[in-house]
Amino acid sequence: MKGKISSFVVAGGKQIELVVQDDQCKPELATNAATKLVSDGAKVVIGHICSGATKAALPIYTEAKVMVISPSATNPELTQSGQYPTFFRTIASDDAQAKLGVDFAIGKLGAKKIAVLHDKGDYGKGYAEFAKKFIEEGGKAQIVLFEGITPGAVDYSAVVQKIRQSGADTVMFGGYHPEASKLVSQIKKKRIEVHFISDDGVKDDTFIKVAGKDAEGVYASGPKDVSGLALNKQAIEAHKAMFGTDPGAFFDSAYAAMLAAVNAVAKAGSTDFDAMAKVMRSEKVDTPVGTIKFDARGDAEGVGFSMYRVQNGKYVEMK
């Protein structure tokens, strides 16, 4: 792919020229690619793909004031550190689920005392730690318990008693469905009334199957369902028509990044970063991942996760 150049015309009368570089997901190659792109005069970069490579390349783009839109780099720091003002992304960051869970617990369920549990794994513990951070930063609720549980243990009644003892009104759990279903059924069995909120690892039909009626009322976040969007179907059809195959991972978000970039250039009428960034942050764009615009830090609003609730044996998206 290296050095392959093609061009096409877009709305607004501007010519767009593609300059393609491959960083192989390696930070050391990413800096080379970035330097090459900047010296070739690229004004907008769609990429990079991996968080590590993106992080390595960003200082170069920041210095040159080149707009970067990644379809796939999910590391929270990329937007939250504030170090990379030219960075945007069309995918939710790793902490998005925890943020959604905390906002939901406090805003919608009125949680005051939250017990945060996790399964000690990377995914679950990451979720729990972000949740803890957001709860503490928000200052509206209190963390009454923060604990790891042992996956596969014969029972969790000691932890469940601890939840009761802590006086929690809400339990947030980071982990997967086997532990979650044991936890919810033991919580029910011990007659403890709490809200149970969890992550994508629990938003799985097996959870409902295994936990049965104890699953009713459990909340879990999961990716927004975008497969029904007209633009999404259209983009996939177009890809099939052109390449004869189904699109790969991150197709939706990469397509969205491209549409956002084209819109920014067209509306701004120039490739000046400040003018484009203003459009990115104020104008909504229809994309295959939904109608999006970007917040001050560069994360896409309207992208990412929804809260689901188990109702009558099914996960129902909460609007």
Partner: protein, 302 residues
């Protein structure tokens, strides 16, 4: 100190401990008689749970009442697992009885893996819901929030089974033969004890008890999976070592000790370190008393 919280943790430790004890008996009996750590024992427990699930499913569709389903599921899975235990011994351990200590140990590990994969193939690798077979006892309603019917049943059934087993070993002819074989197999054989039969009976009893545990616990936690036997087996084995491997009351005490210490450790310190806690205790204990709580210091047989 909050007395009620202490009590809650005590009861949850008691339930957990009874589970460990019930499985630990299988390890300790086998070790007592042929000095083999039967690593496939945890898998017998898992197969017990699966058998219970299948039986409960069939009887459930036939419209049997709940207590009958529970009793039948337990009985069928006891018989089924007893068959497994018996067969495993004949296939995997008996041919290796003269082969030194490591060969049967490897054979046991192989058996454990074999059984797990066998269940994956013929059943599923997914988590499967287990119906709640244990009825809600009305008299427990006032304390159901700290000690549910299933906790109660697990503790009571374990206690009854262990008492029964103790009496069996103490007073029956087979029990006497088992004790004799455990003390000195060669001598027992010279005196007319059929050691092969004793060993078979040991496997049958241990497996049947594991099956009871499997069904009750699966019903208690509401799910079963091919891997549930692994951790339960490791913990029960720890309990058996803690209590003094080879000793029956030791296995019970070890199980309870382990269950309670995990429960209190999780409750008062942190469940992050639940396993660390259990195994640290084991290490510390064995430094000061290598033969376990009830174990006798071993005299090398010459």
């Amino acid at each position: 100190m909050d007395v009620q919280y202490f009590f809650e943790l005590f009861l949850s430790g008691l339930t957990r401990g009874s589970i460990y004890a019930l499985i630990a008996i299988g390890y300790t009996m086998v070790y007592g008689i042929i000095e083999l750590i039967n690593f496939a024992h945890g898998e017998i427990y898992m197969i017990g749970a699966f058998t219970g699930l299948i039986v409960a499913g069939i009887l459930g569709t036939m419209g049997f009442p709940l207590p009958a389903i529970l009793v039948l599921a337990v009985l069928v899975s006891m018989i089924y697992c007893a068959g497994y235990g018996y067969t495993i011994e004949k296939i995997a351990y008996k041919p290796l009885r003269q082969a030194g200590r490591l060969s049967p140990l490897i054979s046991a590990i192989g058996m454990s893996l074999f059984l797990q994969n066998y269940v994956i193939l013929v059943q599923t690798s997914d988590f499967v819901p287990f119906p709640s077979l244990i009825p809600e006892f009305a008299f427990l309603e006032p304390i159901a929030h700290i000690f549910a019917s299933s906790d109660f049943l697990i503790v009571v059934v374990s206690a009854v089974l262990m008492a029964g087993l103790t009496l069996f070993i103490k007073y029956t002819k087979m029990g006497k033969a088992m004790r004799a074989t455990a003390q000195n197999r060669k001598m027992a054989m010279l005196l007319g004890v059929d050691a092969d039969r004793v060993i078979s009976v040991t496997f049958i009893i241990g497996s049947a008890l594991a099956a009871v545990g499997g069904v009750l616990i699966a019903s208690h936690v509401g799910m079963v999976n091919f891997a549930v036997g692994f951790l339960a087996g490791i913990k029960a084995f720890t309990a058996a070592v803690l209590g003094g491997i080879g000793s029956l009351p030791g296995a019970m005490l070890g199980g309870l000790f382990l269950g309670l210490s995990e429960s209190f450790g999780a409750g008062y310190i942190s469940s992050d370190y639940e396993d660390v806690f259990a195994f640290s205790l084991l290490v510390i204990f064995l430094i000061f008393r290598p033969s376990g709580i009830m174990g006798k210091a071993k005299v090398e047989k010459v």
